[in-house]
Symmetry: D2
Subunit: 227 residues, 4 copies
């Protein structure tokens, strides 16, 4: 059994860049630019301020993601995306399980809609062992059922949501920023924040100018006519 | 701990009926009918045959669903839908776990893309006990971590995907038929077939005429201009 | 030829109400309310403030709309919707044309992204006659081509975008509010504002409590996990 | 005034190729291929036959399109797409109008849902002149209103739907094939068929192997779990 607290999210392909967004926006005026110039900063700032999000849909990102099921379930809620995930019906689960590092054990304080999370001051060695052993018991049940010939689709029911799953994820820049607003945010579960930070690095790498302006403008949602 | 093999899927509200689809289709001709008549059968048959699916979007269904996580994950892949699910961050998980009935223990034969599933002829009493005990161990770890003050969002990682989750699901008739084509089908996992049969009953109840015609036409996907 | 400046948008059906949103939101806690109480105000306010838009998708509106093509084209940009429109291939166009009232003749000042519109102080009687005559000439060409046997799908190419078209529109409350943010707003074309005001009346009628709270909170976009 | 019957649809960018689809599909088995081999033919054929459409979403196309408004309105009905169009509020319309070639003048025979179109045997020279003159009259009204200071958003109402508009269109391969099923088909208006043939050329260029297999399999819709 492999235990880890890593969230893998690698950019494997992309289409478009800063200038793509500018040209999609300038299409309303029938203007095309060959490359980014400082004059574009005002345009992009204005798009972001006024909620003209549709030009941002023309930049596309494709990620290879490997995260625990409980985090993946949150990612899959972002419906304006494409996903292809490994299947527990077609392939046996990997014995890769999520385990928090010592400082990631948290406790929850406050009420619903306004929870806060603080470092847990309990017996971490005990909790760590308990969770590891729990995972190992599950894997033992899973493997035994498989060995005896039970179908993978049934045996998997004992697999905990801390088990890792991998998937390809394609998302456009407009929906990517909205993912960041929701998921690289204090109220999001820390584990999806870790993944979202990698998504954010890809944004900065592919569209450095737009990334700067979006941050200067306070990281708003980029809406579109379909919302 | 409660164990069950039930898939709950109750129709809690709906909008529209057979005649709604007819009127959406007849809008192209600027015609409105007060109620269904036999003359509509030919129109609906023609819509289905020719892949004019958009009129079917005007009938809407809302379900209250309670199914295991491993089945729910398949339902959530149907992106043209609305979902609100209970949250393991806001509320502790219920101790309700999926356990197959004796004849639901299956084995998998054949190759990927063409798997078949047959009743498993292994030691079901052994498997049943093993799965139950595995679940109970997980619940014990979960409860112990919660009692010690670990946040629900961390403790939940030991919860197996056989645990039940509940959600509201809103879907229109076009997407509902496509759900049925994929999920009330032999190649789908038996457990989602059980849920899909309840969805199908709701279809028949709300739109009995269209349901008949759709079956007579061989249950095709109902496409639309956006696909 | 009929000329008008009216934008028709009638609520013909709906599903859900204030309490539907509350119950979709409370599903995360597995709580259901029978009816709206003042205690729900704080919950809805919190959903709106924190951008938890998905519960608003469970209220659905269906409108019967009759507006000019140039306005309809803006409505059809709202992709999270269902539309069925009259077809100029299946049925000849009606001779119903948009003509501004005297105070609706506008002029455009300022630059792109920050245009303002003011009442036009030109010769309105002249402009009115010119536009009417232009429409009548188009209708004459259209009818002549049809009479001579040209297919409707070809003859229609002379029809101006001021011609009226009618369609059914189904949209959920989350997307409806986003429609209002964009279209019942000063920067939107005045004609779509007129239609949007009717959409807003339907919102107030179906969900009076949520409508009040949404206004108190400054009419923000209601985002969801898929944006 | 420029008159033409051309439908412009240029591929300006794309992401992915044949092997991208294969790797998205093989993700369910956690397998990655570096390049296309003949072994992939069976896999893709099986995906197409069994309606596993989601892997096709990972290939993305971006087109620059210039077509008449009456054709553009049909394209915009494909909601799983991104569009940015020139705006008649921001920029005056171009005097570019659609005029059929001599053999494109058609007549309509049969009934709704089963119309057929045949070459029109009327006086084409007369019809051609009538349509040209009609267009020119509209442009004259439009320009006069603009010259007198009427806002572009009002003056445009006299513009016929035969006027050209240009837009950027981003669409994935799954939705592109569904576009082709509906639009490069005998029942579609001939003018959108002309555009769809250019879309089909781009498909063949970017994914030659998948294009062949899709044709061998009878050009079915490629569905996905969200339909």
């Amino acid at each position: 059994m492999e235990v880890t607290n890593e969230m893998t999210c690698e950019l494997v392909d992309h289409m478009g860049s800063d200038v793509t967004v500018v040209n999609a926006a300038r299409r309303s005026m029938r203007v095309t630019k060959e490359e980014w110039s400082n004059a574009e900063t005002g345009l992009v700032r204005s798009l972001i301020k006024n909620g003209h999000g549709s030009p941002f849909e023309f930049v596309t990102f494709m990620f290879d993601v490997d995260i625990p099921i409980f985090v993946a379930r949150e990612v899959f809620r972002h419906r304006n995306s494409s996903f292809n995930e490994e299947s527990a019906r077609y392939k046996a689960r990997r014995n890769k399980m999520w385990l928090p590092s010592s400082d990631e054990w948290r406790t929850q304080v406050g009420n619903a809609m306004s929870y806060e999370y603080k470092e847990w001051d309990g017996d971490k060695a005990f909790a760590d062992t308990m969770l590891r052993n729990g995972y190992e018991d599950c894997i033992r049940v899973y493997n035994t059922l498989l060995e005896r010939g039970v179908a993978r689709e049934i045996a998997r029911t004992i697999i905990p949501v801390g088990n890792y799953t991998s998937f390809l994820w394609k998302v456009d820049l407009r929906n990517l920023t909205n993912f960041l607003v929701l998921r690289n945010a204090p109220q999001a579960q820390y584990e999806i924040q870790k993944m979202a930070k990698k998504v954010e690095e890809a944004f900065q790498e592919v569209c450095p100018n737009i990334y700067s302006i979006w941050n200067e403008e306070g990281r708003p949602r980029l809406a579109a006519a379909d919302e």
